[in-house]
Symmetry: C2
């Protein structure tokens, strides 16, 4: 079985304590979604594959009449996760941003529209930073109390990156306004 990044993401979330598929998806939405998005429709088939491969163990854990599965890492799963983290092979980072794409072609626009575009992008960066600070960082900080430190570091990186984008766009705005 060849494991993809989403497989390791799931292994990692199980290791951090997410037990059901739904919980794994929720944990990913609050943290890793910004640098590795994953939909719920990916989670369930992948959990099946990981179980077949012996990397996670499933036990039934119903909540009243509502069915629920509780997954945990097997020793092989833990090995696979650590091996992946040490491995240098990785998918090329991929980044898609329609806003920056617009800005690339902005020479075609009159100054006024260039400014409007830059302002929109700046607002977008501000919103992303604010959301990270208000919603993502507090969740990551809660993990820090349990000795899990990297999620908070990465949430901070995200906030800092958006802050840097805000500054860059503000400087561009000033340059275009003169």
């Amino acid at each position: 079985m060849n494991l993809r990044p989403a497989s390791h993401l799931i292994l990692g979330m199980v290791r951090l304590g997410a037990r059901s598929g739904y919980a794994i998806k929720g944990a990913a939405d609050a943290s890793t979604r910004f640098f590795w998005p994953m939909s719920l429709a990916q989670v369930y088939p992948e959990l099946g594959r990981l179980e077949d491969a012996g990397l996670i163990a499933r036990s039934e854990d119903p909540q009243g009449r509502r069915e629920r599965n509780a997954y945990s890492l097997t020793p092989e799963g833990e090995d696979a996760l650590l091996r992946w983290m040490r491995s240098p092979q990785e998918a090329e980072t991929q980044f898609r941003d329609e806003g920056i794409l617009r800005l690339f072609f902005a020479d075609a626009l009159p100054r006024e529209d260039q400014l409007a575009l830059v302002r929109r992008l700046r607002d977008r960066a501000r919103l992303a930073r604010e959301q990270t600070e208000a919603e993502i960082i507090p969740l990551a900080d809660a993990l820090k109390a349990e000795g899990i430190e990297f999620p908070a570091r990465i949430a901070r990186l995200r906030a800092d990156s958006h802050a840097a984008a805000e500054h860059w766009l503000a400087a561009l705005e000033d340059e275009l306004a003169t």
Copy 2:
């Protein structure tokens, strides 16, 4: 016909003077690929659709016995491009980075392996910055001589972002090393 980002990317490249499908792909590889990747297999069908929609005009422009098409923007194509640049609707930015995903789970690793991972990511950021400075910025600067300024701004943004990542990773390395 509903236009996707790749459609507008092609319109934009045609506007900047790329005439053949091959040339469009080449121009995109030297600039927009970092924030909107596009494969050659997307270009040709998309050119057909844009031509059918009357947004670009095709003329035959063979090079000896080798066939070649030369595309140019129609007034409708120019309109569509400018409308898109002014429009606030956009696909959610998406970012996928297996390296950062690893770092998110790095609490599971011993300190030594954490450091090795951070160093690898730092090298990767340095390489990306160096490549941008050596290959991408000079190409964008050449456009500046023709009065096209935004590509150079965005190439600089890319270099700066990777430089910031390098610094952030260097600081993390120091923190982990103590």
